[in-house]
């Protein structure tokens, strides 16, 4: 099964205390499914993933909705809504 790099930014990274993880999501999993898998790890993961509606995601560096299938993507980033500019 393909490995997926997961990157964290802003308070997601701070709550988890890590910059990234590698996971092997089940076939057909969506971004939301991966978020649920991470939340099940408890601790900072559970805290960061507690309210998926507060999260935004990018698959292979393109913004996607949380119901998007992971497909063959290599990199999933999870972060709060952006606040640049």
């Amino acid at each position: 099964m393909a490995e997926l790099s997961i990157l964290y930014f802003a308070w997601v990274r701070e709550m988890i205390g890590r910059d990234e993880d590698m996971v092997a999501p089940p076939p057909g999993a969506s971004v939301a499914d991966v978020i649920a898998l991470l939340a099940a790890r408890g601790g900072g993961y559970a805290q960061a993933m507690a309210r998926p509606e507060k999260l935004r995601a990018a698959l292979d560096q393109n913004f996607v909705a949380l119901d998007t299938p992971i497909g063959n993507a290599r990199e999933l980033a999870l972060f709060p809504p952006v606040t640049g500019g």
């Binding site: 990018a58 972060f79 952006v82 500019g85």
Partner: protein, 153 residues
Amino acid sequence: MSAVVIGPDDFDAAAQCAALEAMGGGAVATFTGIVRGDNGLIALQLDHYPAMTKAQVERIVAQAQARWPLLGVRVIHRVGRLEPGARIVFVGTASRHRTAALESCAFLIDWLKSHAPFWKQEHFADGSTRWVEARVEDDARAAAWNDQATSGN
């Protein structure tokens, strides 16, 4: 000179303006964002998603170029620790047309706010920190550009 620069360094706004003015259009519009020292803020820390940031900003620039007749565009966005008074972001556009320069400049800063992977963390004098929350108005302003495109205005 690249149209898009993402990095920690300050920039020479005058040189940016001079380059835009030299492009032969009649109109140059700019926007500069600066760190405000409100409520005991001693610094902003700007986080970003390095592998994605530049490509995403270039995509936004390409959208502006497709939409308005622009002779030149410059976008500079700083990252890392920035103290009050420091420049965070610069957007400059050059066109033959005043409205194209003004509108594309406003479009670019609105879209950077809502579509570029940057996050601001506020650091205060008392040692506390706070991640800035996205503002609903920023999304609404960015979305309004889409509505305009759809309705042909």
